[in-house]
Symmetry: C2
Subunit: 139 residues, 2 copies
Amino acid sequence: MDEPGLLAANEAFYAAFRARDLQAMESLWARHCPCVCIHPGWSPILGRGPILRAWAAILANESSPTVEGLDPQVVQLGDDVALVLCIERVESLADSGIFAATNTFVREDDRWYLAHHQASPIAVDDSPDEPVAPADLPN
Amino acid sequence: MDEPGLLAANEAFYAAFRARDLQAMESLWARHCPCVCIHPGWSPILGRGPILRAWAAILANESSPTVEGLDPQVVQLGDDVALVLCIERVESLADSGIFAATNTFVREDDRWYLAHHQASPIAVDDSPDEPVAPADLPN
């Protein structure tokens, strides 16, 4: 399992978000595999083009939040597909919140690319320092 | 792509939920692959055992909602890994809501099993009849 590569790809996603760097964000999404992005409260967006147009709007919006991806955990589903679960700490001028995120990566041309992102709000009493149930992986 | 098999596995998940059939639910989750379940508002649950204990509590709870999985769409990520996206219409005595769900299936022993489920609330003006952005798959 390429845990270092997956963790680096996951962190690159949040770094691109924080830097509001659309070019970096664009570089992270899969070229060949179909892509899906489910932002909190949104219907699923399907396809690389629509996903990147939505990111362009989000990253250009000054009121968009800053996001950290905390406590990442890699879950390998196949040789070339893996999830990285993490807890997103989201802060904006208006609000803040904690989200559970699944980032699904596929390996293309020997590099990990995002194929799916979904973030869901979780109860605020879930401390971001200890967010995930005791892992008994592999199960 | 085994779209019929994946759609059948996805529908079996919602049928088990509606029937409050823990044995059927148990039969759907992967044996060998690590499993993850993110219920709305919950932190991620990792591992087949903890996931099924949570389902036992949900299915035994008379106030748990009934759920339909509408408009399923298959997104193949690899030979043996695929997402089924759908819109969940959730109804309970107290409340109702619309959720975007990702159900991630892995093929084990020539059968599709759930390895990951995540459901997120989406805005109520997203009609369940037309929930997903125009798909331009493959992208």
